[in-house]
Symmetry: C3
Subunit: 140 residues, 3 copies
């Protein structure tokens, strides 16, 4: 069974969609299997991260901006790919080091996530985007 999840973003942030995934799994995944998620873009990411303290996500975004600053930051004067705006090339850099695909073992119809793990789209661009996540469930 496959589907595409659509996540509307409005600037850099972590957008949790664990609920959307669970709802779909309850319909298609009665038992054991594997869920694969793959984001169909090169300037945002998937992430499994803590869903308790929202400061964790803010700190993560801040840190990514410090290791991959916008193209108009003095330390990034060497960037070539700047024609799509100062946030575009850093978005590709962040997309290279954060997951593009995630795999979740399913047992008894539920993702084997830990207590504090949620599933997120991490938006790296400033403008609003409609992001697609391709999903595939394979029963064992």
């Amino acid at each position: 069974m496959n589907t595409i999840f659509t996540i509307q973003t409005t600037g850099p942030a972590c957008y949790e969609f664990t609920g959307q995934v669970n709802k779909w799994l309850r319909r298609v995944a009665p038992a054991e299997g594997l869920l694969t998620l793959m984001v169909r873009h090169t300037s945002c990411s998937l992430l499994i991260q803590e869903n308790a303290d929202p400061d964790v996500q803010i700190d993560l975004l801040d840190w990514l901006n410090r290791i991959a600053p916008p193209a108009d930051h003095p330390s990034m004067h060497w960037l070539r790919h700047t024609m799509e705006g100062p946030d575009d090339m850093p978005a590709h850099l962040k997309a290279a080091i954060l997951p593009v695909s995630l795999q979740l073992p399913i047992a008894d119809g539920r993702m084997m996530l830990g207590t504090w793990q949620g599933i997120y789209v991490v938006e790296h661009r400033n403008a609003p985007h409609t992001r697609q996540v391709a999903a595939l469930f394979q029963a064992s």
Copy 2:
């Protein structure tokens, strides 16, 4: 077939568990298929890395500390999420850029790893932790 591997950690280091995985595979994976591993925590990581020179792992840990220093390092004064200790938020940062899940094609009952590849849990926290890795084998 699914299982959970338990890895006891005692501070930041790479903990190889290739042997545990191989032992389980010999029991459940007679032929071709896919092994998925997913760590059920947000402050440690999975990693496939060189298992020859142990200095590689020490250098990796040192480097991660340089790009994501502890919260009590002057360069990290801007961190918000500090209530769980100076090693907690950097652990989440490292967990965001190292793998949370790994997929290993199996042929003839064996993982198709290269000669120098081992499978590790990378612990990012200072205190000892009991880490769980969910595993799923799906025959082709």
Copy 3:
């Protein structure tokens, strides 16, 4: 169905092999399923990245060199694992944060990639290498 893709590299760069993968899929994947790719080395990476402007790939390589410089750069004097050359340990560092495995949902015999996504081997070593990517297709 499994196979091994061989990619010949000649120094640090992104080597696209989307075409090789598509050709194989047309032969083995008539319908829905999951494609898993795993690189069998610890000093190069897999990557899904933009395949439009080649400057994106050059900027990515430059950035990786800035966050993980060669061992003979003054900022890297603390590295221990230097006996395989100044480009070896940084290659392991880059290999830790870029993907070692990728999973691609297949629908109607085609990878569900976005419009701008290509599949690459990212070479981190200076010398030419013959790189192997293990591939597994599992029908749903």
